[in-house]
Amino acid sequence: MADRDSGHEAVNRERLAQFVRSRISRRSVLKSTAGLAAAGAVGGSFVPIRRAAAAPRLSPASVAAARLALQQGADSAAAAVAAANALDPKPEVLNVVWEDGLQLEDPTNFFGPRWEELTGIRVNPIGKPFTELFSSQVAEKLGGTGAYDVLTLVPAWTADFVAQGLMEPLGPYIEQYQPDLDDYHPLYRELMNYSGEIYGLFDDGDTIILYYRTDLFEDAANKEAFQAQHGRDLAPPTTWEEYDQIQAFFTEQGGGETWGGASQRAPGQVYGWFSEEFRNRGGRFFDEATMDATLASDAGIETLTRMVASNRTMPPGVETWGFVEVLTAWMSGQLAMIGGTWPPIARWSEGTTAEQLAWVPETTVAGNVGYSVMPLGHSLHNSGFSLAVSADSPSKEAAYLLIHWLTSPEISLQRVMLPYALRDPYRLSHYASEEYRSRWATAGAYLDTLKSAADGALIDLVLPGSAEYQTAMDQAVTAAQAGTPVEQALAEGNAAFDAVSDRIGREAQKAAYAQFLALKGSYYS
């Protein structure tokens, strides 16, 4: 590699010398310019990506400080602070990639100032829209800028991030600093592993649950009418067929002003809803032996057919609804149920956030919200962030100590209770927290539902090329919603899946898929 580099440098130097020696003419300028650019392009573009160095040299003073703090009864967060203060040299700043918008409030207003106060190390939050988080971090890696110290990823990206060497393996750090891994919910603890290595500390329990209006469900007239119509009690649905019945019931009652339910159906978001129900019905993404895609199975057809039919009793235009549209309709009391969405809606529904979130519609449903695991029993853990140390960071140990501190039981509990930061419970101590359970009347039921949902949650596909697979799934669903026959849409989804697998290599994907199958939450049947 060094020889190749020096060879290119020599060529470039010689061309530069010729360039300078030559007479100035338009032709020679153009020729030389093109030559230089070509040399630079050929020589400079394709530096093979190296894997991160295996064994970091940790600061003995920091490790000793952390151990001493723990021996003296300090908690994990305090130990991380002691270790950071013992770093020599101590970095002035840590550049932290974070989702922007609401999520950015956490580093900006909460943990950033606190970490700086405790350690003297400034946190520089670099906000990126969710849709650009993946690409911007990969692009920085390819550019070799070393601009980031702490990376943000969702588990589905792990395979691609590891393939490109973006993340520092955390094994040695964890061995020395002992974060409280046993306190993680087992689902999330397992999501931190990839290929037998831990690359990130999990930080956001994004398991989807169903929300329903208890006042409407407990209304005597509604109960009686529903019983008369369907011959069973009006209760939170346990199957999608029950869900559709309840949704249709309330939609009919609403007369075009209110509806029985809504789910996120917009391009880019709807794949999760398909992925969950599909696997609950016994569907599998691939044939393990051949890696042929199997979306167009009976489970796939049944799922997508029902989803398209269900849209008819959701608000008109639900095909374009994302998280915010569902939230807005729910908060204004237009929906009897949300057919699954992320956890923060519970906090906002209770009006705990009015002072922080000007853009969240004022709640009209406070005190009337019930929670349930999704129909068919297995909710989807959709997205959910992990924090990782950039392999190119010049301050890896400090970066690790920051994410150790952030995800520690003590600090993370405060962060998952923040009304504005969108982090959600993921540690066993979060679910059990008396402080959290006393936040509003039904907060205990909310936390219990989140834990139950996580206990049996399905996880997003963790595989090289996961973004492409997800997009293909998404496109199959949105095509069917727009009128493409379900069988055809799923066949096209299969073809797109197969094209990705063929390009990356079926054997390699087979091995990666076997790892996915070994994860808790890949499938339950």
Binding site: T33, G40, S45, D160, P267, D474, Q475, T478
Partner: protein, 310 residues
């Protein structure tokens, strides 16, 4: 001590050793160096780099970037989604630019004469052109909203009943929405260019035509249109090339959906390159676009611009 006097034709050597012509060359290089470096860094280097890249397999999932010849180009030729994005782009460009030309020309004729408030009206009409495309997309996305958007409301008033068209959830209506939005934003550009063209037509020609008994239509057909033909040709070329880069409206309206039915070529390349990091293939698709557009533009220029009499 000897004194040498330079002979004619020999370089004058300064006390520091550089001749006048050498200093001139050096100074010349110093002066053009910033521009050359800028062109190298921002223009030539990415162009050549991406061309080289288009002959390699460069995927996110692999550490290797092997040379694969024209395989990326072969895949692009056989890629139905690629040509689907071309079809969508062409449909939008042809519809939008045609409408912008007709409306822009009509408005230019209206604004040709002097009237009160013209100085105020023209800048107001130019406002859409000055807006950031993403802001336009966001604003119009709200206008197209089936439930709360004023477009359905206005259509309802005209139809005398509730209208609930989900504009952005179906290919045809979503493409129509993109065309209308593009026409709203870019018709003023056509108006401005065509108005400048019309203003430049010699008024004596109209007077002469009037004396010969020519009416409004005859003057328009035989004087105005031939007079501004080069301007029309250039305006259409500029607008069409710009419209081919359509990205913002797809991003804000549909994300290419439902399915892949509203993808434009720019959106597809963005997906390939910056979402899936298939940089080799994305480069090849980009070069296919560059080649096609260059050929079309060259033919267009040859056909419409070179044949226009001076």
């Amino acid at each position: 001590m000897t004194t040498s006097i330079p002979l004619e034709g020999q370089p004058v050597v300064s006390p520091r050793g550089l001749g006048w012509s050498a200093r001139r060359r050096r100074d010349g290089w110093l002066m053009v160096a910033p521009a050359v470096l800028l062109i190298l860094a921002l223009g030539v280097y990415p162009l050549i780099s991406s061309l080289v890249l288009s002959f390699r397999r460069w995927d996110l999932q692999s550490h290797e970037t092997p040379f694969i010849g024209i395989a990326n180009y072969a895949e692009a030729v056989a890629d139905a989604r690629h040509w689907g994005s071309w079809a969508n782009t062409l449909a939008i460009v042809v519809s939008a630019v045609s409408l912008e030309l007709l409306l822009g020309f009509g408005l230019a004729l209206l604004l040709l004469g002097d009237f009160r408030g013209k100085r105020l009206l023209l800048p107001l009409l130019m406002l859409p052109v000055m807006m950031v495309p993403v802001v336009v997309g966001l604003t119009w996305r709200m206008l197209w909203d089936n439930q709360y958007g004023p477009i359905n409301h206005l259509l309802g008033l005209v139809a005398g009943r509730d209208v609930n068209i989900v504009w952005l959830a179906h290919r045809d209506t979503a493409l129509a929405a993109m065309v209308v939005t593009d026409v709203w934003q870019w018709t003023p550009f056509m108006l401005l260019v065509l108005l400048a063209g019309l203003t430049g037509v010699n008024p004596e020609l109209y007077e002469a035509a009037s004396l010969d008994g020519a009416g409004w239509w005859a003057s328009l057909r035989d004087i105005s249109l031939p007079g501004i033909a080069p301007v029309v040709a250039v305006a259409v070329l500029f607008r069409a090339l710009d419209a081919f880069k359509l990205f913002d409206l797809v991003f804000m309206f549909t994300q290419g959906g439902p399915g892949t039915s509203t993808e434009s070529i720019s959106w597809y390349i963005y997906q390939l390159g910056f979402r899936f990091f298939r940089l080799g293939y994305a480069s090849a698709v980009s070069y296919v676009a560059v080649v096609i557009l260059t050929v079309v533009a060259t033919v267009y220029v040859a056909r419409f611009l070179r044949e226009i009499p001076e």
